[in-house]
Symmetry: C2
Subunit: 314 residues, 2 copies
Amino acid sequence: MASEQTVSEVGEFGLIDRIRAALPAHGAAVVGPGDDAAVLDLTGRVLVSTDMLLEGRHFRRDWVEAVDVGHRAAARSLADLSAMGGTTTALTVGLGVPGDLPVAWVLDLVSGMVEEAALVGAEIVGGDVTRSDSVVIAVTAVGTCAGPPVLRSGARAGDQVALTGRLGWAAAGLAVLGRGFRSPRAVVEAYRRPSPPYAAGPQALDAGATALVDVSDGLLADLGHVASASGVHIDIDPSSLGEIPEPLAAVAAAVGADALSFVLTGGDDHALAATFPQGSVPDGWAVIGRVLEGAGITVSGESYDGPAGHDHFA
Amino acid sequence: MASEQTVSEVGEFGLIDRIRAALPAHGAAVVGPGDDAAVLDLTGRVLVSTDMLLEGRHFRRDWVEAVDVGHRAAARSLADLSAMGGTTTALTVGLGVPGDLPVAWVLDLVSGMVEEAALVGAEIVGGDVTRSDSVVIAVTAVGTCAGPPVLRSGARAGDQVALTGRLGWAAAGLAVLGRGFRSPRAVVEAYRRPSPPYAAGPQALDAGATALVDVSDGLLADLGHVASASGVHIDIDPSSLGEIPEPLAAVAAAVGADALSFVLTGGDDHALAATFPQGSVPDGWAVIGRVLEGAGITVSGESYDGPAGHDHFA
């Protein structure tokens, strides 16, 4: 069966042909895959962001199905553009794959990226395929913004800090998988396939957000970036984050971790955090803190005693 | 000294800070590195292309200095946009690096990319850095085009085939390095740091080129793509390619290769090949063949008996 072939067996151009055949007919792109570059018809502020997803570093093939790796790889870049208040039009994908990888794995990966991109009306318009020792995925999102993009640097003393989306679920899922377990299923699924609140980015822009960021390094780390870029102090009220969800509490108890640390420092759920002028927080966002004069990030006025987020070289 | 530190020692955010400090102040970008996405002010047809450059596959650190790896990595994507008739405005860079890599190596790499991008007035506007077992570089070029982009599919019977830039030099350089030699210096330098004729892409668009491609897989392979996409037959006149340059002849004699095969099948010099209506070939381009009705690619009317170009999984 064709699906049992490896990428070495079909070769570079054979693999590219199969990937292109698996892509939906293009709509937004003037020129899609197959030429030296893709061509998009965009006007005004063009947003661009690139993220890497590496086997062994960001995922393990025995922990995550190919289709979910595709969802995760696309989600990271789509969430970045949402975190500017924008929407992705097109993705390009740089892909390195081992020669003994089944072609079916690659096609499932592409299918996951296509499905995730479709959630915001985006499509894959081009890329590059080469051989590598382990799977390497570089996804670039290109899109636009209906108004001036919402930066990290616009938070002002007096603003409210608000959040939409989940925190800590992916981190709890990773903790579970790291110990060889497969449940609670809800957190494992959250790790495998995040559900970023993409539409909340443009919503925040429209509502007049002063700063906006997606939570990929952890809430404290990413709001720390906002505090630093804006020259302000951000204080989080942990009680406003609500009850610790039951699956997170269960994982924390089972692995001897602090459930709140999943919430405050876990990345990969791609929640969105923003600051808004008083009274401007839109529906679907929860107020979780406030912006003060000064510097740094605190929880109930105190420094948080733990790692603030993920450093890929730690 | 700071330059002797490894990327593990400075950490992810330390490395990102050092890279950002090494980038020139941005000009074309509305928002440069440091936020969730970069913001460009572009209008009309937006071109985008991603290329991967992997250690062990596309370069060896003991064969090529970091600054030259940077030049090569940027050149591949810049040449892709030139091969649409366009010009690059901005690059994003996805970078995977081993923890024990010196920070100085990464900064030299970035410096090479910055210098190469500056040749067309482009700049690095963002990216992603993570740890990997070997060096992984994914460069995405975003730019624009002054008119309808020149595709691979527009060649018509009766057109002239023309070329600008060098062929076979990088392939000869690779053959030399692969046997442990470091000379002839001219071909080794050509392999380490290509000199694509970037300006010739927009020139070809302006002159009415019907098809345009950059020679990255080899002349026959890339013109084969044009023939296939355009539904035509392309015939190359090898005598029109001129005398085999002396360094290529020397390498071919030394390694027992056919010098013409370097010219016809060697990639990585990023020459540009195009088809033009009769009499429209602009200055600086050499006519090397003609477009006929039919299919496929021939040399003096005969199939070329050898590998047409590089397959990354072969």
